[in-house]
Symmetry: C2
Subunit: 157 residues, 2 copies
């Protein structure tokens, strides 16, 4: 798959990943390890909660989104190295059987101020379920390499 450098990216470019089915057993397994709460672990207790049924941890949705991004066509050279994330929101819960798709859009691009071989990309994530309802949104800042750093190595002689 074609690797993308800073110079290959344009504001407004979009990439998609998915679908990824979220099973009840995956919800429970993730929760047991990282978010051990009844609404994520116990279908009966979850039924009596304000969610009226088992829901995935929001962090489970976040890491599934990361997986979908890594496997999408974005494919940044050097990998997707996150510097930070903002405005992470979960407007609707994810339930067993949901099939998630993640869309990423490039919303900002700039060369690094201190390191000429890299740049910083701002990415808007939107994760939707099979009914096209948005279950997660986030804005992330990601490091990306510049092609010029590869094509024009400094001379050492």
């Amino acid at each position: 798959m074609h690797e993308r450098y800073l110079e290959d990216l344009r504001i407004g470019a979009r990439f998609e990943g998915g679908p990824y089915e979220v099973t009840e057993s995956a919800i429970i397994e993730f929760a047991r390890e990282f978010d051990p709460q009844p609404i994520h672990l116990d279908p009966k207790a979850a039924k009596e909660s304000i969610f009226e049924g088992l829901i995935a941890s929001g962090w489970h949705t976040a890491v599934i989104t990361m997986r979908l991004l890594v496997k999408s066509g974005l494919n940044l050279a050097g990998g997707t190295i996150g510097l930070g994330a903002d405005e992470l929101r979960w407007p609707k819960p994810v339930r067993p059987g949901d099939k998630l798709r993640a869309e990423v859009e490039i919303i900002g691009l700039r060369p690094s101020r201190s390191k000429p071989d890299r740049g910083v990309v701002r990415i808007r994530y939107t994760t939707r379920n099979q009914n096209d309802e948005t279950v997660m949104t986030m804005t992330a800042t990601v490091l990306v390499l510049r092609r010029s750093a590869i094509q024009q190595p400094s001379r050492k002689d």
Copy 2:
């Protein structure tokens, strides 16, 4: 363990969780499922990267932090139901063998505008390694129940 309602919380209150050791095998297992990139999967490839060795996915650090919070003394009534997160940053990488501790501090409290049985808490997270270096920070908005909603049920007669 004592469950805390909105009325039990004070701005500036702090709670701690951990330590939690992050093993090389856990880093690789998490990455295989959710962040399949060489710097998280392959010690040899990671050695040649800008990180000079295997590092945990930032999302792995985030979900470990969630686990530490759920098991900390904060123990919110009704569970820790996240509405969103902001300012998620990873100032230093997490490496195999690191022992993480998470500290949470209450930085905001308000009753819900629309639902009298609940409130919204702003929490500042700081995750540190065994050398007291900060590896992650985040601000989260969490739903919390009000005790008054439990103690004064509306009369139905």
